[in-house]
């Protein structure tokens, strides 16, 4: 008696495109970011310029890497709820090629940023000498390049299978992507460790932390889900995907953003407490450097930005479902990632023999915004070249009827 309850698909929207305002704003930040970088180089502040470059490059690389990892997780867990928003992470993977190349340019900066790249420093330092089979510019370039290439290849494969499904339908593409995802997540654990060790951890080559790769993983999950939440929230607010994307989908996404705040606190505190408890000089140096020389204030507000404020704000159910509440917190979390990278990179730098001093990260912020602007343009370009919703995904109906 009942088949009439199964409704027809909502009207399929036009191709998605970045609003004109966002495009202009992104372009402006790219111009300002490039100008800031050029200004810093022209003043002879190579270290400042390269550190800002590293922060911006890693910030956006994290968004691209997250997209591939998240797509894999969604395929593996059979996350029906995410089908109608899948084009967002798919478009984010487009950054991996240009972003990977921009990140590789950090190799040029090795002498400004990485102490271990100076042969005379390594020769007189037993610890660096011991680590030199891993920490040298050739291995750096090869392993970093291989890892970034691997991300780009898997990202392209996952997306192209999804686009093939748009044309051909059927279950084959989902199944193929599921296999690919399982392989990728294992490789991702290794390659993300390599990338985070080389780019960030090796800034202080004497220090080590077994929590570091996990911490970087929580960071990119938090920033990535927050970025998706900004885009999806704006789409719900503007009604771009009316009928396809609603508060139930936002709720699930919001739960992931919410979980990532607790996950970050857990991992960051783990790293801190292990070092505090053992009290070994090689390890405590990391936090000592971040509590002196004017860094303490920058370091101390990090837990508020990444955990306390977003956690308490996202605790009520409505905050995860209502885009007007979700989007501002997500923006805060994206900003918090910049802040954390600044606190990771800034204190690790030395000016000659002197430790770096804490300063308002104006140059760093402008350059990072430039990277984010470029990322947004690439993202928008990729988004506009695809159907806005994977209409032939076998899980589409389950997604449309999804209740959070």
């Amino acid at each position: 008696m009942t088949r009439e309850h199964y409704r027809a698909l909502p009207a399929v929207p036009d191709r998605l495109a970045l609003p004109r305002r966002v495009q202009v704003l992104s372009l402006a930040t790219v111009v300002v970011g490039t100008a800031t970088l050029a200004w810093a180089f022209s003043r002879g502040e190579a270290q400042l310029a390269w550190s800002a470059y590293l922060i911006g490059a890693f910030f956006t690389l994290g968004l691209g890497a997250f997209a591939v990892a998240w797509l894999s997780m969604l395929y593996l867990t059979g996350a029906d709820w995410s089908v109608t928003m899948r084009r967002i992470p798919e478009a984010m993977t487009a950054w991996l090629v240009p972003g990977g190349l921009l990140t590789m340019a950090v190799a040029l900066s090795a002498h400004s940023l990485y102490h271990w790249s100076h042969a005379e420093a390594v020769a007189s330092d037993p610890l660096l000498l011991h680590k030199s089979p891993f920490l040298n510019v050739t291995t750096f370039t090869v392993l970093l390049g291989a890892s970034l290439l691997l991300w780009a290849v898997f990202g392209t494969r996952l997306v192209s299978a999804s686009l093939r499904q748009d044309r051909e339908g059927g279950y084959a593409a989902t199944r193929a992507n599921r296999t690919l995802s399982a392989i990728f997540l294992v490789l991702f654990a290794v390659t993300l460790s390599i990338v985070s060790f080389y780019l960030l951890l090796s800034l202080e080559a004497h220090w080590f932390s077994t929590m570091f790769a996990v911490l970087v993983f929580t960071d990119i999950v938090q920033t990535g889900t927050a970025f998706v939440a900004v885009v999806a929230g704006l789409m719900v607010m503007s009604g771009t995907l009316r009928g396809f994307l609603n508060e139930h989908h936002l709720h699930s996404l919001g739960k992931m953003v919410f979980a990532s705040t607790g996950f970050w606190a857990y991992i960051y505190f783990c790293q801190y407490m292990l070092i505090w408890y053992a009290n070994i000089p090689e390890e405590t140096a990391y936090f000592l450097r971040r509590s002196g020389n004017g860094w303490l204030a920058y370091f101390a507000i990090l837990p508020a930005l990444k955990f306390v404020v977003p956690f308490l704000f996202l605790l009520p159910r409505d905050a995860k479902r209502n885009p007007r509440k979700l989007v501002p917190v997500a923006v805060l979390l994206v900003f918090a990632q910049f802040w954390e990278l600044y606190v990771m990179v800034g204190p690790a730098l030395t000016h000659g023999a002197e430790a770096a001093h804490g300063h308002l990260p104006v140059v760093e912020l402008l350059v990072t915004l430039g990277f984010l602007g470029l990322f947004t343009l690439v993202f928008g370009q990729a988004l506009s070249h695809r159907d806005p919703v994977p209409l032939k995904d076998p899980a589409l109906l389950a997604c449309l009827e999804y209740h959070s």
Partner: protein, 183 residues
């Protein structure tokens, strides 16, 4: 105990969508003491039945705070005032060392407390259910069963039967088991 009613009416539906549509109509008709017995959780049923959001999250929040206060109080009392001990030269009030316990106590209090409150509240604050065992509904198998209890303020057997039939329900059946249940 979950309150049972000895009198009421049952009606069967065979599709979740039909059950949802029927629930919305029962809600709009102003019935209060009704329930849907389903083989699996039907998404959107709470809204269709007009149920309010549970107050249980507030209980969880309060219990979590209590757990935090308890763990902090206990550790600070024991480790700072009652029996201070020197561990590796750390201060007596070594807050990082207290965090894991505080976290665990928070989870413990919130989770167990919420479970207990949920069970107790579910027994008290519930629509009177059909008499157990005396009525075979099929709700554990393939039916979505509407139950309207005779305890409803607007109960009238004839009117209820006419109404449930008007929803398109199958197997409409008035239940009256007298004093044979524990209600």
């Amino acid at each position: 105990m979950v309150p049972n009613s000895t009198k009421g009416i049952l009606g069967h539906f065979y599709e979740p969508a039909d059950a949802l549509a029927a629930a919305a109509k029962v809600r709009d008709a102003g019935w209060k003491h009704f329930d849907f017995l389903t083989p699996f959780p039907v998404h959107g049923m709470e809204e269709a039945m007009g149920q309010k959001r549970s107050w249980l999250p507030w209980v969880t929040a309060v219990l979590a705070l209590c757990g935090i206060v308890f763990a902090q109080a206990l550790q600070n009392y024991v480790m700072v005032f009652d029996w201070p001990m020197n561990f590796g030269g750390k201060p007596f009030a070594a807050w990082p060392a207290f965090i894991p316990i505080t976290f665990e106590a928070m989870v413990f209090w919130a989770a167990l407390g919420s479970a207990v409150v949920a069970i107790v509240a579910g027994r008290m604050d519930s629509v009177p259910q059909p008499p157990p065992m005396a009525v075979k509904t099929g709700a554990t198998f393939d039916r979505f069963v509407l139950w309207i209890s005779a305890t409803d303020p607007k109960w009238d057997a004839a009117e209820a039967e006419r109404f449930v039939r008007s929803l398109g329900a199958d197997g409409v059946r008035l239940v009256d088991v007298g004093g044979r249940t524990n209600a």
